[in-house]
Symmetry: C2
Subunit: 431 residues, 2 copies
């Protein structure tokens, strides 16, 4: 039996999971492989980690990642520290030293993927990153290999478990955002500073990775529109629910003729849409391909063992030599790709949910619908709720297909109307 | 750009789809590969196929598969004729002639997989079979590669689109079995002789393939329990629906300590189970892994282009050299595997739905529950419906966990009761 030596850098939750699988080799397929990934060394800045892990004595432990990077016995480096620095430098050095790389670092790949991929190609090494999106769901392999015969038309997904947990809790238990967030933090699903998750930034990183693979194009990450859930009102979730829609934070990629749509925002989905029943910390990604049609992959999008499952799958790919072939063949994240502009959010067309806080007197609907009509936004349905707050009533509307730019203009013009109080809320819809 | 020459044997619906993708190369990833699968020859017993296809002149067409098998330029043979013979001989010859094989033939793999895999290993060639289960869903790759770090605990799936279409139609439109089947046949979803699909045989073939990969063991295919949907009463679908359950034909594989459970039968699932909302010709497979937890893959399980999508993905794997590595590394379907007995259906434990046709008089429930109690079957809920047919009323029960053998004995004993008329129906439940 051949072995392939692994150096693990960053021994947090996921790192400990990876070590556990590599040391226990509990899987029947894993233990029968021709070439098995073997844990050789671990680096973590915290020296206490060594005692906590109860490592076998033949595994090198160091607080200095350089020790692993300089060790010629280590053939593949697993980067699990996250963030841009020093992850970037560690991966770069590993490649320069002739080591393959496995990473779960979505932020680094979204922002500097092309650079790192070019570097890996120059050194004849590979970067594997199944764990960067969807935790244990083999979404990268599916898009890149399983659906290779397809022109990918759309990728829709719930790719952030933290926000899905919060929205599920708000929807099911009628809990307001701040309380749901606090509970997520208590359970370890949300970080102390939840910004990356709740503002949709983490989702936009993952979307960038999926879109680069699925569409085989390059684009400017900065132009991905993202909007989080921190401003979500419980009442909108509930009015929309009554109208037959479930609220999810979606990452959406669509290929149009000349450009691509890439956006992350709270989105209303019909209750019977497969993504509507993806609850809690689960993730799911729908892919529409020209040959395969509609597909969905579902599973735990984060957490120790699901993510470790994906990291170890990558390590097996590297050990068997498949990762190198795949990386060489996959002409994404590189100069080989056509650069495509991301469509401006103003040009997006969707249906909208609108909630106005209006003064309850005759003529209000006429004024609002007049302005909407002026901007070619037609109304599909209207519900006036009785719930009265501070002298206003909520007026909820669903529109037909409309252009975002027109909606923005209409909403700006409506600010002049004295019958509208407070901020008007709107949500985008996908069918 | 390197090319890898493909010979396609069997030019039915799926074959035409494969040809279309290989000739059009519409996918951005496919067209940028280092080594591209190129359609070199087609064999079909029907000479008319040639004209129908409108093939480019440089593609060899023959009515004799041997011509492709003997052609040294052809490096990979795609077997798409289905059935046991001559598919078996074609694959065997292709391997002997030093060609790799791609097939969608689930029956052949279920019955003679180990034999064919040993043959391929002896000749240093590979057999790829992503299209054999779940159409375009990359389920084989997910189980074999994506979840390799896992001990697979359970595989549950809707793997037959024909029966799922029929059950969906019966459930949604309250149409009886024979009418739903006729509609499926009219739409081309069911064959003229639907036996393989409706009796659960096709599902058991697919289950055998999934279980061999997932559990990494070998077993006797003949011992897989299978039961189809041809005897399904619409009334049971509806009584169960009222109780909160959806009826699906499931293929179920579970690993227990000393053996495995492998069974195909109509199964009741709670409405909120992810498989309950898989409708029409869609397939979905849930996999529970020790690290990854619960996952589900969903998509079109059959049809021209979804299946062709999987075949072409396999061809790319072969062309790039990944298929050979994977096939060599994957110690399933072979003498390398532990042989494990399939648990006898009598030992299975599930909850049951029971429907008795009883005479409407006092003491009936006491008699029935007495016999159930004698065999350690306890009742979770009872509904007596008012609907009266031929002087009897339906008595519907849900049991707690019970052993199938005990249930069978109880039902046999109840045949002596004069208060029970007709055949007693029962359905197994999964949560």
């Amino acid at each position: 039996m051949n072995t392939f030596n692994v150096g693990l850098i960053g021994m947090g939750t996921v790192g400990a999971g990876v070590a556990k699988i590599l040391l226990e080799k509990g899987s029947p397929l894993l233990e029968k492989l021709d070439c098995v990934p073997v844990l050789k060394g671990i680096a973590d800045r915290n020296p206490d980690v060594k005692n906590k892990l109860n490592l076998p004595s033949d595994i090198l432990f160091t607080t200095d990642a350089k020790e692993l990077l300089n060790n010629p016995d280590i053939q593949v480096v697993v980067e699990l520290i996250g963030g841009l620095h020093p992850a970037m430098e560690i991966i770069t050095t590993a490649l320069e030293k002739g080591k393959d790389v496995v990473t779960a670092n979505k932020m680094l790949l979204a922002l500097h993927g092309s650079e790192l991929f070019s570097k890996a190609r120059r050194h004849g090494k590979s970067i594997s990153f199944e764990a960067s999106v969807g935790g244990g769901i083999p979404i990268i392999a599916a898009l890149r290999d399983g659906f290779i015969a397809n022109k990918i038309e759309a990728i829709f997904g719930i790719v952030n478990g933290t926000t899905n947990y919060i929205l599920t809790k708000m929807t099911r238990e009628k809990v307001k955002y701040s309380d749901a967030l606090a509970e997520a933090q208590r359970l370890g699903y949300a970080e102390k500073d939840p910004t990356m998750d709740v503002e949709g930034i983490d989702s936009s990183h993952k979307l960038a990775i999926l879109a680069r693979i699925g569409f085989g194009v390059d684009f400017d990450y900065k132009n991905i529109y993202h909007e989080g859930i921190s401003a979500m009102d419980l009442s909108d979730i509930w009015y929309a629910h009554e109208l037959g829609y479930t609220l999810k934070l979606l990452a959406i990629a669509k290929k149009t003729e000349n450009n691509i749509e890439l956006r992350v925002h709270p989105t209303l989905l019909p209750h019977d849409h497969p993504l509507s029943s993806v609850n809690g910390v689960f993730n799911a990604i729908c892919i529409t391909g020209s040959a395969v049609g509609e597909t969905m992959l579902y599973g735990k999008g984060a957490g120790q063992m699901p993510t470790a499952s994906a990291v170890v799958a990558d390590l097996v790919d590297v050990a068997l030599g498949r990762a190198g072939i795949t990386f060489k063949a996959m002409k994404t994240f590189s100069g080989h790709c056509e650069y495509v502009p991301i469509a401006d959010i103003q040009q997006f067309k969707t249906r909208y949910y609108l909630r106005f806080s209006v003064v309850d007197k005759p003529g209000v609907l006429a004024k609002i619908s007049g302005i909407l009509g002026k901007y070619e936004i037609s109304i599909a349905s209207v519900i006036q709720h009785k719930a009265r707050e501070n002298g206003t009533v909520p007026l909820v509307m669903m529109t037909h297909l409309a252009e975002e730019g027109n909606l923005q203009k209409a909403l700006t013009e409506m600010k002049q109307l004295d019958v509208i109080k407070d901020h008007t809320k709107f949500l985008r819809v996908e069918e």
